[in-house]
Each structure stands twice: as C-alpha cells, then as structure tokens.
Symmetry: C2
Amino acid sequence: MPLGDNLGDKSDSRYCGVETEFNDDMPHVLSYNINGGFDFVVAPLMEPGYRASMVNSANRESSVLPFAGSDLVLSPAQWSSHVVGKISSWIDLDSDDDVLREDSEIALKQELAWASHLSLQACLLPTPKGKSCANYARFVNQILENLNNMQLWLRIPLVKSDDNDDDSVNGTSDGMVVEPTDSWELWNSFRELCEHHSQLSVALDVLSSLPSVNSLGRWFGEPVKAAIVHTDSFLTNARGYPCLSKRHQKLLSGFFYYSIQIVLSGKAVHNLPVGSSASASGQTDNYTQQAQRHEIRSYLDYVGYLYQKMEPLPEQEHFFLLQLYCINVDLYLIMQLGYRDFLQSPLQPLMDNLEAQTYETFEKDSVKYIQYQRAVSKALVDRIPDENASTTTVVLMVVGAGRGPLVRASLQAAEETGRKLKVYAVEKNPNAVVTLHSLVKLEGWENMVTIISCDMRCWEAPEKADILVSELLGSFGDNELSPECLDGAQRFLKPDGISIPSSYTSFIQPVTTSKLYNDVKLHKDLLHFETAYVVKLHRLAKLSPSQAVFTFTHPNYSPDKSNQRYKKLRFEIPIETGSFIVHGFAGYFDAVLYKDVHLGIEPTTATPNMFSWFPIFFPLRSPVYVKAGSPLDFHIWRCCGSTKVWYEWCVTSPTASPIHNCNGRSYWVGL
Amino acid sequence: MPLGDNLGDKSDSRYCGVETEFNDDMPHVLSYNINGGFDFVVAPLMEPGYRASMVNSANRESSVLPFAGSDLVLSPAQWSSHVVGKISSWIDLDSDDDVLREDSEIALKQELAWASHLSLQACLLPTPKGKSCANYARFVNQILENLNNMQLWLRIPLVKSDDNDDDSVNGTSDGMVVEPTDSWELWNSFRELCEHHSQLSVALDVLSSLPSVNSLGRWFGEPVKAAIVHTDSFLTNARGYPCLSKRHQKLLSGFFYYSIQIVLSGKAVHNLPVGSSASASGQTDNYTQQAQRHEIRSYLDYVGYLYQKMEPLPEQEHFFLLQLYCINVDLYLIMQLGYRDFLQSPLQPLMDNLEAQTYETFEKDSVKYIQYQRAVSKALVDRIPDENASTTTVVLMVVGAGRGPLVRASLQAAEETGRKLKVYAVEKNPNAVVTLHSLVKLEGWENMVTIISCDMRCWEAPEKADILVSELLGSFGDNELSPECLDGAQRFLKPDGISIPSSYTSFIQPVTTSKLYNDVKLHKDLLHFETAYVVKLHRLAKLSPSQAVFTFTHPNYSPDKSNQRYKKLRFEIPIETGSFIVHGFAGYFDAVLYKDVHLGIEPTTATPNMFSWFPIFFPLRSPVYVKAGSPLDFHIWRCCGSTKVWYEWCVTSPTASPIHNCNGRSYWVGL
C-alpha cells in the first residue's frame, strides 16, 4: 500500500518495504507484511545455517538446497513485485579462512541463481566484511557480466567518522596511519572494480547517528536504490510513538525527493500506549480490524506521515505563481519532471532552423518575456526623457526575432512607457518569417514593424539602431554563439546604443551523477564523452557552489577583441564532505538584460518559473576520484575556428585528465 | 660521426647532438658542428627577439618571419637527419600576462609549422614555466592531433628535491602546504593532458647534481628520447680534461643502454692544457688538423670514451659461455635483441599444435636441457641405489615429448648415472610424433623408448611410472596449463613417484613502460588491454622487486585440490623514488625441477643463457598514478572453467581499477 499521496509524485519513493527474517513459508511472510501495510519484503532466500562444506560432497549433487519455498508458492508477479532477495549475510568472500571463502562463493552463486530464476527485481548483497573487498567485487563482477535484468543492491552502512578528530586522521598506531572510516570509500572501490556497472547499486543502512550534512549529500549522486531504516534509529514522541530526529526527517525527505525506497528493519522497540490503534499521524487504520496488526506498523505509519507532509518539490512550489502568470501547468510539469536527467544534444541554432514546435514551447515561457519587457522599458525611459517621448522615435532592432515574442515584448514596453518605437525584426529562418508576417498583419503593426528576412551577420541595415534586442543565449550563455552573432550585428548599433542583453556570464560546478555517467557510457564511444548536453539535472550531488566562467559584454568596442576564452577554476570542497567522485560539471548562465534586470538559471540566482533553459552538462571520460580535502582544478577553453566554435576542458588536480574534445573533434557549434 | 663502436649496439645511442644558439647561417652552424664531431644540432628556428605583438598588425601578414634561413639553405636530408628544431625558450602559454600568452601561442604555432614544413624529425619544446601547464598542454595537444611524423621532445630538468627533508614535505608557509619539487610530476601532468600521445616524448636536462638512484630509475620507463648534458655538469680530471662524476657516468650508461641520445649543451668551461690536441680518451683526433677544433670537442670526446668503455649489455655478457655451450650466437642475439619490447600473444599449446620452426628454436636452448639432465640424474641416483643400478629398470615417462629433447636428456642422465631406463614418450601432436619415430630409429633407441601418440590427459598407461618428466611451463609458470595437464597425467605415476618439475612459482612486479602501453593502445580496443603478452622487456622501469604469486606442486595428492588461485600483493615502493605511473605488471616463473636443480626467468635468480622464455606482461587499461610513498595493491586470480583457464587482475590501491578480463572475456587458454 503506497505511503499516501503527495502532489505529483509518481515515483518509487511512494513504496515502503520491510526486511524480514528467514521463513520457509513465503506466502505467510508476504501476506502478513502486505496486509501490514508494506509494499514489498526484503527476505532471505536460503536457510541461514546452510553451508556447502557441511554437506558430504557425494550428497551435494543429489540434495535439495534449503531455499525458502519453491518457485510455485508465489505467483511470478508476486515474486517480482513484492520480494527483494536478501543474500545470506554471513558470506565473506575476502575471509582469510579458505573454507568460509569457498562456502561464501558457492552460497552467493546459488542464491543469485535462484533469485534470477524467480525473476526478482533486486537482491540485497551483504556489506563487505573488511576494508578489502576485491574478491567479493570480482565475484559479483563476474555475475553482473551475465545477469538478466535483476539489480544488485550492495548494502552499505551510512557511517563516516569525524574528520575533525585530528588524532584519528593523522595519528599513528603501530606505525600504521589510521584512516578515518568512511563507508563511501568501500562503495567506491567496489563499484570501480565492477566498472560502474549499471545494475550495481546501493542500499544504505540508516543508523541512529548520521554523518555530516555535506557528506550525506554525496550519496544523492550515487545509484542509491533503497534506504534501510532501523527501528532503533527512531526516537519516541511525547505520546509514546516512534518518530525521527529532525536530521533523519530531512534525510528521508531527500530519499523521497530522489525516488529512493525506504525499507524498515528490526523489531518494535517502542511500547505503544495500551489499546491504541490510531497511527501516529492520527489516521485511522483500515487494516487493524481485519488482520493482525503488523509489529512495526507504527513505524511505517510515521514514515507515511513524513511522506505526506513532505515539502512540495522545488519544481512544484511555484504552482500558484504559475497560475497567476497564466502559465500552462501541464507544460511546465512536463518540462520540469518529464525531462529529468534526459540528455539532449545542444541546438545548432546557426546551422539548423528551429521547428514550429520548438518556437511554440519556448514562446510559452512568459516569465522570460516579462523580463525582456521590463528591460526594454527601462532602456526606453533612460534613452528618451519624458519630455521627448512624443517627438522622438526610437529605432529598435530585434535580431533573431523568431516568430515575434520579443517584438511583442518591445512594443508592449513602448506602450507601457509611452515611447514611440520603430522596430526591425531580423530573422534568418524563412519559415519563422512567414509567421512573423501574419502576426504583424493580425496585430495591425504594419506601421511600426519592418520584417527583415536575413542573417544578422550579413544584413546591410538602412539606418542604425538605438537598441538591439536579442535572445541568442544557450544554457551556458555563449554556447549558441551569441557573441559571434552580436559582434556581427554591432555594425548597425549607434555608438551610444544599447544591447539587451548587455552581458552574460557562464557558471560551472562539479557534480556526482552516476545516472548521467552511465547514460553517456551506453554509447561506448569517445564522441559522447566529449559532448556537452542540455539536461534537466535531477539525480545528482552538487559538490561545491558554482563559479563564474566566461563573461561577454555587448556592445564590445575593444580594439583586439576575441571571443576565445580560457578559465582555470579551483573548487575547494570542505574536508567534512569526505572523498567523492566527479562525473562531470554542471553549467548555467546568468544574463544582465539591462541594468538590474537579469535572467538566468544559475541555481542561487535563477529567475523563478522560467523553463526555457535546462542546465548544460560537461562529462568527464573517466570519473575523477577526489580525496577528502583535495582541491579540484578545472580548466575550460572556448576555442574559435573559421567555421566553428567549441569547448575543450580538463581536470588537472587531484590528477590530470586528458584534454577533452581536442580541436572540437567530438562536439562543436557551427558558425 | 657516431661515438664509436660498442659490441652489437646499432641503436640511436651511438649519436650525439649539440645545442646551439640562434644563427641565421644554418649551413655554417651545421658544418661547424658536424665537422666538430657531432651528429646533429638542436638549433633555434626563429630569432629569439621576435614577438608577434611587436609587429604592426597591418604588417603582420606581409612581413617575412625571421626564421633561420629558408628551407633551401640545407638539403631535405640535412634538415631531417641533422637538425632538431629548438622552439623559442621564452614562450610561456600559462603566463598571467595576456600579451605574452598570445605571443607565445603564435610563436609556438609558427615555429612548429616551420619545423613541420622542413620535415624535421623532432622539435625541442621549452620546459613549462610554472607548476601549471594546462594551457601549454592543451595547445600542444591540439597540434599533436594533426601532426606529421615529427616528434615533440618536452624539455624537463632532471630535478627532485629531497623528501627526507621533512620540513619541505609537510611544512607550511603562509598556510600553504609546500610540496617537494619533482619535475616528473610536471611531465606526468603534461602527458596525461595529452593522452599519452606517442609523438610526445621527453628530453631530460641533466644538471650538475642528480636526484636519488631510485627516482632516476623511473625515467627509463618513460619515452625519454634525449638527455641534454650541460658542460657545467662536468668535473675536471687530473690532466685538466672534463670528466663526469661516477653517478653521472652510471646515468649515461643507462642512457646508452636504453638508446637515449646525448645532447651536449653550453660553453667550454674547462681550460685545456695549451697545445693539447689529443682527446681525453687518448685517441688521436682526425679533425683537428683539417678544421677548426670544436669549442666543446673535449666534452664530446669524453662522452665517446664513456660509450666505448661501456659495460657490455647484460644480454651480451655471456657470449663466451654461449660459445662454450655451442649455442648459436646469432640465434641468441635475435632472441634477445630482435624481440625487444615486441608484444606476442601467448601460445595455446593445448588447442594448437606447435610448428616445426618453433620446436627448432626451442630445442637449441641447450641450457634448459642441461638442467633437465641434471635433475633426472639426481632423481635416478636417489631412486635407485648404486647396488641396484644394474638390476632395476626405472620407468620414466616424458609427457609432452615434442620432438624428443627431454627423451634425449633423460637417456643421457641414465647413461651418466649408469641406471637402466624404460622411457615412454607421450606426445599429442601427431606431426611431432613423426619426428620422434625417426629420431628413435636414427639413435637406435628402439629397445628403450616407446612412443605414445596421445593426449596425456586421456592415455591409459600399461604400467605406472617412477618418474614423470614434463616441460609444459609458460612464462608465468602455470599459464600454459601445466597444472591441468600434470593432474591428468598423475594417474599413471606411482604413489612414491617423482615429478620433474616438482613445483613452480610465478612472480610479478609493477613496471613503468610507456612503450608497451602505447603499443597496446594502438589496437583501440578492450581486448588487447585485457591480454597478457609474452615480451622481451627492455625499455621499462622496474619499480619494486618481484613477489611470488602462485605455486603448484606435483604430484598433488590433496583431497580437494583445485587449480584456482587468488593472490593479493602489496608493493611498497621507497618514498625517495617519488611518484610514478604503473602501466602494468611484468611476470616471470621459477621452477624447481628436482631438489636444488631449478630453472627460471625471475630476474634475480634467472638461469643464465637460457632463451626459451621471455617475461609475460599484464597491462592495465588505464595507467595508475601512485603518489610517492603510497602502497600499490595488486590482485590476481587464476580462474578455471570447464573449457578454459584465465586470469583476472586489478589494482585496489592507491585507487581501484576495473577488474580486468572478467570471465576471461578477452584472454584465456583453452583446455
């Protein structure tokens, strides 16, 4: 039974599982727990006492393995929807004891083969026993190589010792350097050994004490599929019911947000008030009358309560504002949720012509045009004093007019400020020009608007402009070649003319995003690892605040102007974050349209409710491991050739990566 | 003029160059230096004072660049054989000064384009100016992407500060950690950024003081093409002539051995005795009479003297012994020199039948058979007391008899010890059996030798053997499936019978070998990075002594025997070595034939003058950077399936690599 309703959430985070002990009677296990309100069980598949080495080798072939029931005791749908297999927790493939190691290999192989036979969706692998897990990883890697669709969840306790305790970091005992414990390192070794296999993921064991917020954040970029919350991690509220600390609550919100399923584990450790049947959240319980109440139902109820009272998703919090602005909520949701972590190749706006559907979508982004209207209004007022408003006509050119939204915003600004306007709408796409003509006719703008069907870089303007309005920005600001286009158009701007936007700056930050890395890797080629993608980032960890990269200012009258750029950035990540892995860099832009009117997607200053731009993602060919406290140095170049513009990028610290996209061999934007 | 003669050396180390200053008159530069005894010049191509930014931009296109002469002043052969281009040393592509950076980019581009136009074999790139070299590397990487065959030699000073000075390692000044200086790190960053490009190599600047021997060793695995020795690094001998310290002499021997060309640099700093014209080595100088004596000729003479008195190559030191054993010296030299660093796929001895040529070559390895004869002799004497020698016949089976060399060795042992022998020669290759029959007839062994044309794993022997003799060893001991074959043959060995060999052990050590890495990379696929190669290792740095890996003992009567193995090895490399890169692992074997008679190729205990086995090389898919003082953990598994045997391997420290060759997907030996 899903945890309840939460606005718009259709993800797996609605479901909650429970970890059970071995029981031969699987139908009972399932009915007890499903009736108790859980959606699935994490159940051992084999009797925990069984060891291959205890069976006489002559009998080994004839004997029946002590599995929990035959495949017939549940329907195929029940096995696959409601059971996660729990591999025997005693197994230890890195033990020094040869017998134990051999028994472990046999058990792991038999249990995974059985789980695979049952078509389970996932199996929970026990936590590696020591710091070394190479043999365990080698064995799992061999199995992954030939596995069906089953996921393997490696159980990792959520622990990290405090780095501030200097003794534990640098202290020596018996001549050995004692490293602080960080279970992330164990996971990282295991998955590196298994080559970041997409079917290997994490089940986090959430214990009563939690590591620092910074270090928790890393996990959201990792493929965490489940969080196992132990009953003894719960506190007791004033009424005697289980509840969680504020920090645990916040962590669970994160799990819900990132579609990580909760699994409850352990026995009831709270003595509930006698005769009580109401749940902690005050809801009535439909099941208590008809069936035995589940032993840990009160914990489940509390998790359901947290889920239902969860803060709305960031994407949803502006619903009322959206309605206020008459924004199409469905479209907005599609843009914000439907495209999550979906990699798109950036547009080639100069080489290709946009399609009608693309114009249609972007024109609905009212917020963007409101900002443009505000910028034009301010520029008009600055340019023409009130006393000249009725006598002076301002020449405004919209370069890259598309199907006219900026023409409309400019005319509205003129009307709002009472200024007289003459508009040239310059557009290179002949298909968009058709629409422009019909718009002008429909709106009766014939006296004010002149349509020019021409590339702004070639057009010979009959007069010079007071104001040049453009929207040629990409997710990374200059990546759709706004600098080159506006340099070309600058010829017909008056020396004291205004460009809207007047400047724009790109921003970048390092991220962990196992999801996107694996999506890029699917292509099995260099080209896709050297391409920047437009992507609605969701399942990722932002490891450091973003930093400014390239700035372009218009108009640009510097004598030896070049649009080539080089930037070196150093990201200092707090040592308490622990070590982490960088899969790539997330990029954004912020544009100053005019004076204090800006527009952008940099997370800390993003224009609310705007959906025209997703971030950009620059991948790394090999994920870079950064040890706790080490700085991360990133370099990026904007290179210009005679026919194309491209970026090259690399990391030089903690270790040097190859230079990506040398000479724009994989990814470039045509001029 | 080559440095002189040294037994068998036909490599580039015979040649010596000289670094010159800018001179417009290239024919003069060349004739002065060639007549002075040098083989090539390292000469600046462009006037050092020239800066693009100083030229009026209007004139820039029309003006002639101040190169040293036109391409016509020398013949194409002279340019390509005798001139290495020296790129202007002032260039600094990572300067904070934008003008300098831009001038540097222009100069580097112009000079390399000119060098390329002249078809020079190599250009010397100046040392990066600071610790950061990302922009320099990016620019060079772009050029490498489209370069003709020209090599780029990055000039790197041979410096490394002393790590034993604890203050410099961990001390802080102004809150910054002061890292020790190690120019290898600079090189490593640069080449990582350029993706280990095979046309990017190193020219080492040898200064008057040298880093530790351990740290020097690293460089022999790197693509060092030239060593620039400065005149002020020379000492003065008793007669007033320049000479080098013992440590410098040893280093130069290394350069000669690894075919690294010497380039002399600098002015004469020794005042030679007046009127002297004899060189330091006492040779008469043919050139002093006919031409102006070269200013630094005495330094060149000294280098020539060192070259000529160089220790014979390790491969050559046993020439006399070879002749003593009647070993074909030419064959030996081909095996030792001709196959240097040539990657060969290992044999599939069970699946394929060897060809006659292969038998021919290996049968010439007399040393091997002498060892077998010694082992059989000792075993015969142990088995049969003198008093029973004439009455008891020993049953000896040669399994894998090939064309008979072990049969011969066994019969010679019997003769030598006066024991009576009955030999079964078991061989699966029907082609070899033909030769065996004719050998037996020719030698008159019909009464002593029975030939069995059968796979030893299937043969039903008519009686049991006292002694089982085999030579099924690969470079890594068990890699040609000796364990599986001998397990199969053990059925027909008496319970107290003797196996020769009685055991064998594999060994492994980490190596830097840029050469082999680039050769593997050429294939551009995963398969070749997950294959172990048989290779006569030459141009590599051995970073640590080898360690034992797997041991197999025969006969093996343990109840639950398995030939699967797993070994974890930790290599602790002295901190004074500095950081280094591991391209893979070199493997060897040592076999105990009988008691103290052994046979093997592990470098410290290798059987002299034996050429049947080259080492084995396990590559790593991505070279692993190991920071100074960090341990290197290596894991290797021997896995057995029903139809094949294979290895998997990985590194887990300092960082985890993928598991190589999962399930034997790339490389395996068929059963």
